[in-house]
Symmetry: D2
Subunit: 282 residues, 4 copies
């Protein structure tokens, strides 16, 4: 059998907790002669759910492996087996360049294992930056369109690229439920505040008004609207009385792009599990 | 003239911004032959207010110094001149020991330049700890008292010690407006969340439910109710999916005590200015 | 069978990596009808070592469990099975109170699951503080003793209390190799710098001289001398030009005590594995 | 007098401390009818040096203003008066893109008030990235040149652009003393470790070997060699046992670029004073 058939895949399991689960799953992998490169598991004792991420190397027979697992796992289990490695991403933008720029740089020079299939904007502003990186930029203007019409046009444009994930890199539009439901646990947003503080518009101005001493950013999956959904990553920086709202905004941009990129790094590595309004991150 | 008359004082000025303010104030200090050990100023260009903290050393004639300043400063100015050094503090507690313990240790062994005049609790729980440090513990139980009656009894007990500041070290009672107004800009509270997120009861449980990846604490002056008022200091720690609400609480205790103690350090050094709902901290 | 025989224990395994290890170990636990409360493993692919911590609940037959494991694990494996829960600690001190105070508070009021068997000092300074917490303080003065003689006396005093761990809470003495070897992977020290920067005496003064913008602290196991050994935990705070060496020292004390306490928390929970000059922490 | 003559400038003073300095300097500004937008001062009581940064607005007569100051300041004073605003920068690179990319993005889209006059590299690797941003890239290969010859060629290339600052954005060459002395307090380097830990080559590998739990980056002026000189800014991130040296390197890149950019922000705003091996940063 040629060596080329050696592959690396990630098996992800969520199921009701029970005695012997790790033994059962790892036994099946062992019988399939798959080597476990890395294994992580977590039991949420409050809800009785078991989470396991198993990074495997070997020669895979997906069908029999999954069938064996289905025979062993308790009812109500979910499992998925995906190839490890490079994921496809479509990025949505409006006018701000900093998050997009960081993603373009990391995609081109290393740091994020993704292929940017396209950048789609509702303004022309960032076309030039995207095209400098020799990537397609698609304009879907929201002018003269109702919100549902615009979201339909966006979905059509996105789906052409069949992405694994849709990244909102400062895409400043409220999404329709139809849009959100079309990409379940696939939309990642960066919000420019330390959620749940300062939900809504102009969070830096809200933060300034409240006189906070720390500002932050939050990367999260989008389930319902822009400021809710399971949190993936958060970070903060200290500010003081000398910061105006504009200076908070400037300083905050670095936090935003760092948090988005760190969140995406883990999502792309299939390390993030969503359940309810929470994430488990290995 | 005996050397003993050399003193160190802090002059604090808040006034409408105007050309030449620093020159005027420092000229007056210079004429009084006072040495400026440290000087900080800040102009809030949005509201047009000027803040200056001047740490002075020399032989003071308070009356003429303040009269000279009043002659030079624009209308609507506030200035105060206080001795630098050890301040008097009364600490209010309920049942939790961690913030109190840190203040007791730092008062006894260095780290906070304050005299703890007394600790007053609405439960007996912490009497033993306080008495180990040879400090008075006063019980003012809230049982069988209305909230206003209890707060009156607290005020009476506090005022016996004539403190410069009242520190709420996990004092878990809602305060009456009368109590708060009795100690303007003198009450410092530690709130166990990163305000303004998770205002109200059980913030760690709220944080757990929301699935945040960072928890924090906020030290602030109390103006109205326990969770509002000008923020002095905030800090955070990272948590992950493996933290239960109880483990967040345990980990958060260290943040709470650190933030309270760092805020108090600056307040005691007369480095914190309050204006409106904000603080300027030098 | 009475319910009282239900116990919680921690199984820790270090062995050469091999296919099927997780399956083998968890199978054995499953056959013993032990429930896995929490499981963590890590493979160091560089050295080919496998680490696993398994928190188990059930009715234990230690002898057969360990025999089964020994039959299944590859040659060169180490495994240990300990009761989860409260560990016994002896604390060594010199004159500084801040780390000791934090440990006393957390032992008395919660936060560290340990029994402080005794505090042993080479100065009388901290006797009073220890006795306030109703714990034994033992003075082993180093005066008129050679270093080996003093360390022998220390060891004799420590061993009376048969501790699981010896915590150096700012114990400012260089230890003899005999002392260190007597407590392998059992001595935890807090060093007042961000190791490996500023090894040796007066690290805050070294940091001040170098003009650093960050200072830190390091908790580590002691293998050889005070400033080496596997690092458990590190943290830092930002400083600026206005900090003198003394102010760095004051600000650093909080970092020191936090880092020591966080390191100890994980050590006490049997979450820290040592191998070579490194730690694996689950 | 036309409004267009209103300017903003920064006056920076370093001199021996003396009574009345702030009064003298601000009086002179007041007499010149200059408005103080922001003023900061610091006295290093250990060395007796006084530092003041005064941001002024008004109609300037530089000659008489500086003459008045020279008449008032004590012997041994240094003062400089520069226009606030956009500075000219030349960036040196080798092969790594992350720091350069961040500077290009911030120069083009906001965040750093600088004009990148040119990027000069000793390899061709980054030409394409620079030219995408429509900026000149100059190759000065070190091949077939001695170190002094190469540095001479670099200096000639740099000096054509007459920059205010030379930024080493991962320029991996050791500089000759001639080069360094040619740009006193004008060369800013980013070092990929938390200095003074891990001086020298391959700091991430050193950090990995030592088993540290924190890695960092340091931006500093270059006085002597690449790893010394007054520190401007440092920051760190936490790592754990699961990080290989390569993963530390990847995670460290974000810290490097953030620290460099934050340091540069303050340097460009003329907020950084150098004295001896230290910086004062307002």
């Amino acid at each position: 059998m040629p060596h080329a058939m050696q592959q690396r895949k990630v098996l992800r399991t969520i199921c009701p907790d029970a005695k012997g689960l790790i033994a059962k799953i790892t036994n099946i992998c062992y019988k399939h002669q798959l080597n476990i490169i890395q294994n992580n598991e977590f039991v949420d004792h409050r809800t009785g759910r078991f989470f396991m991420r198993t990074e495997l190397e070997g020669i895979f027979n997906d069908e029999t492996l999954l069938a064996d697992l289905d025979g062993a796992l308790p009812p109500g289990s979910e499992r998925e087996l995906n190839s490890a490695g490079r994921q496809r991403v479509v990025i949505l933008v409006t006018k701000e360049a900093h998050c997009l720029g960081d993603l373009l740089m990391k995609s081109a020079f290393g740091g994020l294992d993704m292929e940017i299939a396209a950048v789609i904007g509702n303004h022309e502003t960032l076309r030039n930056l995207v095209e400098r990186f020799e990537l397609p930029f698609v304009l879907i203007s929201h002018e003269n369109l109702s919100r549902p019409e615009h979201d339909q046009a966006m979905m059509a444009a996105i789906d052409k690229y069949a992405p694994d994930y849709v990244v909102l890199a400062k895409y400043m539009r409220v999404l329709t439920p139809e849009f959100v439901q079309h990409y379940p646990n696939q939309i990642i947003n960066i919000h420019h505040s330390f959620l749940p503080a300062f939900i809504g518009a102009r969070p830096y101005h809200q933060a300034y008004e409240r006189g906070v001493k720390i500002i932050g950013a939050t990367a999260h999956f989008v389930n319902d609207n822009l400021d809710e959904g399971p949190i993936i990553m958060q970070d903060v920086i200290h500010v003081d009385h000398s910061y105006t709202a504009e200076e908070m905004m400037r300083a905050g941009r670095d936090v935003e792009k760092n948090v988005l990129s760190r969140a995406l790094y883990r999502v792309l590595a299939q390390r993030v599990f969503v359940y309810g309004n929470r994430t488990v991150i290995f």
